[in-house]
């Protein structure tokens, strides 16, 4: 009887752990709606959805890289880089040409990252720190150290179109993001390629022995990550008709924390697209909430840094505990505990 009860409890805990991000989302949403001033109204919710679009889009590709067991620290800078390219070239050729070029540039960054990681076999943390520095230099060189802004009726018409709600609370940019989320979610959870990402992240050798071209999977993951970062940056810049040189700098911290909170393990092989997106949304609500409570931007920076640190620490501690109990059977441990109790 007692035994059964315990099992139920552990099952419940496992279930809670599995859905923890959705629970967290609900808790934050209800809390903020009840207590944060001016939180629950369509204007604020639209703003949240609009702001979250960029990081949610970046999180899509980044989650795939994490599922593969790699890391892409260059996402934020890739977003800025692509945005700057799109806007600079717009002046000469218009969006019709500049946007595809910028997306391709983003994909090129991913290809470079992927080849260096998969073929040359350099640790992905190291590679992406290198490309991060290169991209920052490139961005500053392209713009001469100034932010880029556009003007003109056509450009503003596009900005307005992207930002104005088409359906209630849903401007085209948010709708586009939702479309990306759905496509990526279906791709990762329902396709052969998607499963291969999990295989490679879970155990590279096994995946290779099973006949998966692990190098190609890794490179694809990096290309998807950089491309989505580029798309996110470009859309953000198009909506505001401007690109600042540090627009993507906060995204790294944001997306990394969100992805880990969402349950995608840094060791790879675990996680999901939807969970990351929900986590990004939860974080955004939390940050907006702190601003609405009257705290300044510096508090937001402080809290977001603290959250990333806590999340990384939690993940490290969990794997530390897991490592300690590896090879020890839960049932035996339980018996041992009972024996101790008797004594």
């Amino acid at each position: 009887m007692m035994r059964k009860n315990k099992l139920d409890k552990s099952k419940l805990l496992a279930l809670g752990d599995r859905f923890r991000i959705y629970i967290l989302f609900g808790v934050i949403f209800i809390f903020m709606s009840l207590f944060a001033p001016r939180f629950f109204n369509s204007y604020n919710l639209t703003t949240i959805l609009r702001t979250v679009s960029m990081n949610a889009t970046i999180a899509l590709g980044f989650t795939i890289v994490m599922i593969c067991g790699e890391m892409d620290l260059s996402i934020g800078r890739t977003a800025t880089f692509a945005a700057v390219i799109a806007l600079t070239l717009q002046k000469k050729f218009g969006y019709g040409i500049s946007v595809p070029i910028a997306v391709l540039a983003g994909a090129g960054v991913g290809l470079l990252n992927g080849i260096l990681v998969a073929k040359i076999k350099i640790n992905s943390f190291i590679v992406t720190i290198g490309t991060m520095t290169i991209l920052q230099g490139a961005t500053y060189t392209i713009t001469g150290g100034n932010s880029v802004s556009l003007s003109g009726d056509k450009v503003f018409a596009i900005s307005d179109f992207l930002a104005k709600p088409l359906l209630p609370m849903l401007p085209p940019r948010v709708l586009l993001t939702i479309l990306f989320v759905v496509v990526f979610h279906l791709f990762v959870s329902n396709s052969q390629w998607g499963r291969n990402f999990y295989m490679v992240g879970g155990n590279r050798t096994t995946a290779w022995l099973a006949g998966i071209n692990t190098d190609r999977i890794t490179i694809t993951a990096f290309i998807l990550s950089s491309t989505m970062a580029a798309v996110a940056g470009i859309l953000f810049a198009m909506e505001s008709s401007a690109a600042t040189l540090n627009m993507g700098d906060n995204s790294l911290m944001y997306v990394v924390s969100a992805t880990i909170i969402g349950g995608t393990a840094m060791s790879g092989g675990k996680g999901g697209i939807l969970r990351s997106v929900v986590a990004v949304l939860s974080l955004e609500m939390l940050y907006t909430g702190t601003i609405l409570f009257g705290f300044g931007n510096e508090v937001k920076i402080f809290i977001s840094g603290l959250i990333l640190a806590l999340v990384v620490l939690y993940e490290a501690y969990a794997s530390y505990k897991h490592e300690k109990t590896i090879g020890q059977r839960a049932v035996l441990l339980e018996e041992l505990a009972q024996a101790k109790e008797k004594i």
């Binding site: 890391m71 620290l73 260096l116 040359i120 076999k121 350099i122 640790n123 943390f125 190291i126 590679v127 720190i129 290198g130 490309t131 991060m132 520095t133 290169i134 920052q136 230099g137 490139a138 961005t139 500053y140 060189t141 150290g145 790294l252 911290m253 990394v256 840094m266 300044g296 931007n297 510096e298 508090v299 920076i301 402080f302 809290i303 977001s304 840094g305 603290l306 990333l308 640190a309 999340v311 990384v312 620490l313 993940e315 490290a316 501690y317 794997s319 530390y320 490592e323």
Partner: protein
Amino acid sequence: MNGIQKVDTRALQTNRFSKLLSSIGIYAIAALFIVLGVVLQSMGIINNFLTTQNMMNIVDAVALLGIVAVGMAFITYSGHYADLSAPTTIALTGIVSVELLRFGFIPAIMGAVVVGLIIGIINGIVIGKFKANPIIWTLAMSYVSMGVIRFVWVNKQIYPDVITDDPFPVMLFDNIYRFRFFNAISLPLIIMLVLVVVGQFILKRTAFGAQLKLTGSAKRTAKFSGINVELMIALAFIISAFTTTIAGLAITSLSRVGAYYNGAGYDFRAVTAIVIGGMTLAGGRGSIIGVLGGTLVIGLMNNIMTLLGVGTFSQDIIRGAIFILVVGINAKTLRSMGRDDA
């Protein structure tokens, strides 16, 4: 074959390139850069390379970077890549020291060292004990330190001479960077040289150095042979935080202002110096003398690029490319020789 077993000698051969990059060869590259500078000057492409002032500029820049790199080299040596929290540690210790200058010079220094050591100890515990990924953790740590700076000081820049009316501590603080023995040798240079000598001694001549080497090259083996691996890693991070704190004091003294942006870029420059100085990111290889050479090369390269009129940001591109190239070649040659890879 005649009963003699053929031994795979690939692992025993030394690759010419990696030999070039190993500790002594890096000074040849540094010398090459000096020759390049002289040649460019004689061709009239750059001016003022071979002047006392410029040489002193190079040495001063190398001294600051060297102080950070020597400490961070311990982390690389222990197989934990780098400390990305270095720039914010520089900023935080600097701003704390300026703030505490109102209580005098000694409290300012002590305060900075305490803050630096706290950061080092936190890094050491989380990465050593809980095995967090060093890059992502130190990145998180840098955001936390930045958050603390923004939280406490908002966006303020604080100046030593505004903080206190007493000119004496301000004078002392200004002289951390500006004091020169015989009007030539700056205090940071002496600190760096002392750190290099002590660091080289610790790494190559003490039990701690040997244990750190084993920790870096074969962690499991180190653990099973009774080395307190967790402590070794933690100490590496504490040493790095300590030298970064010294650099933080010197840099803040140089700029005469405590602000959140002090020290930006020092993390990546230090790793690049370490890597081209012959320390592989896989850990357990290289020496502090080599790191000094790497720092020298970075300093010379920056100086020549600046004289050539290459912008600060374009220099980032070149530095990043060189970093990836060196790491990539290192990894490839090590692997083709049948050793581990970075």
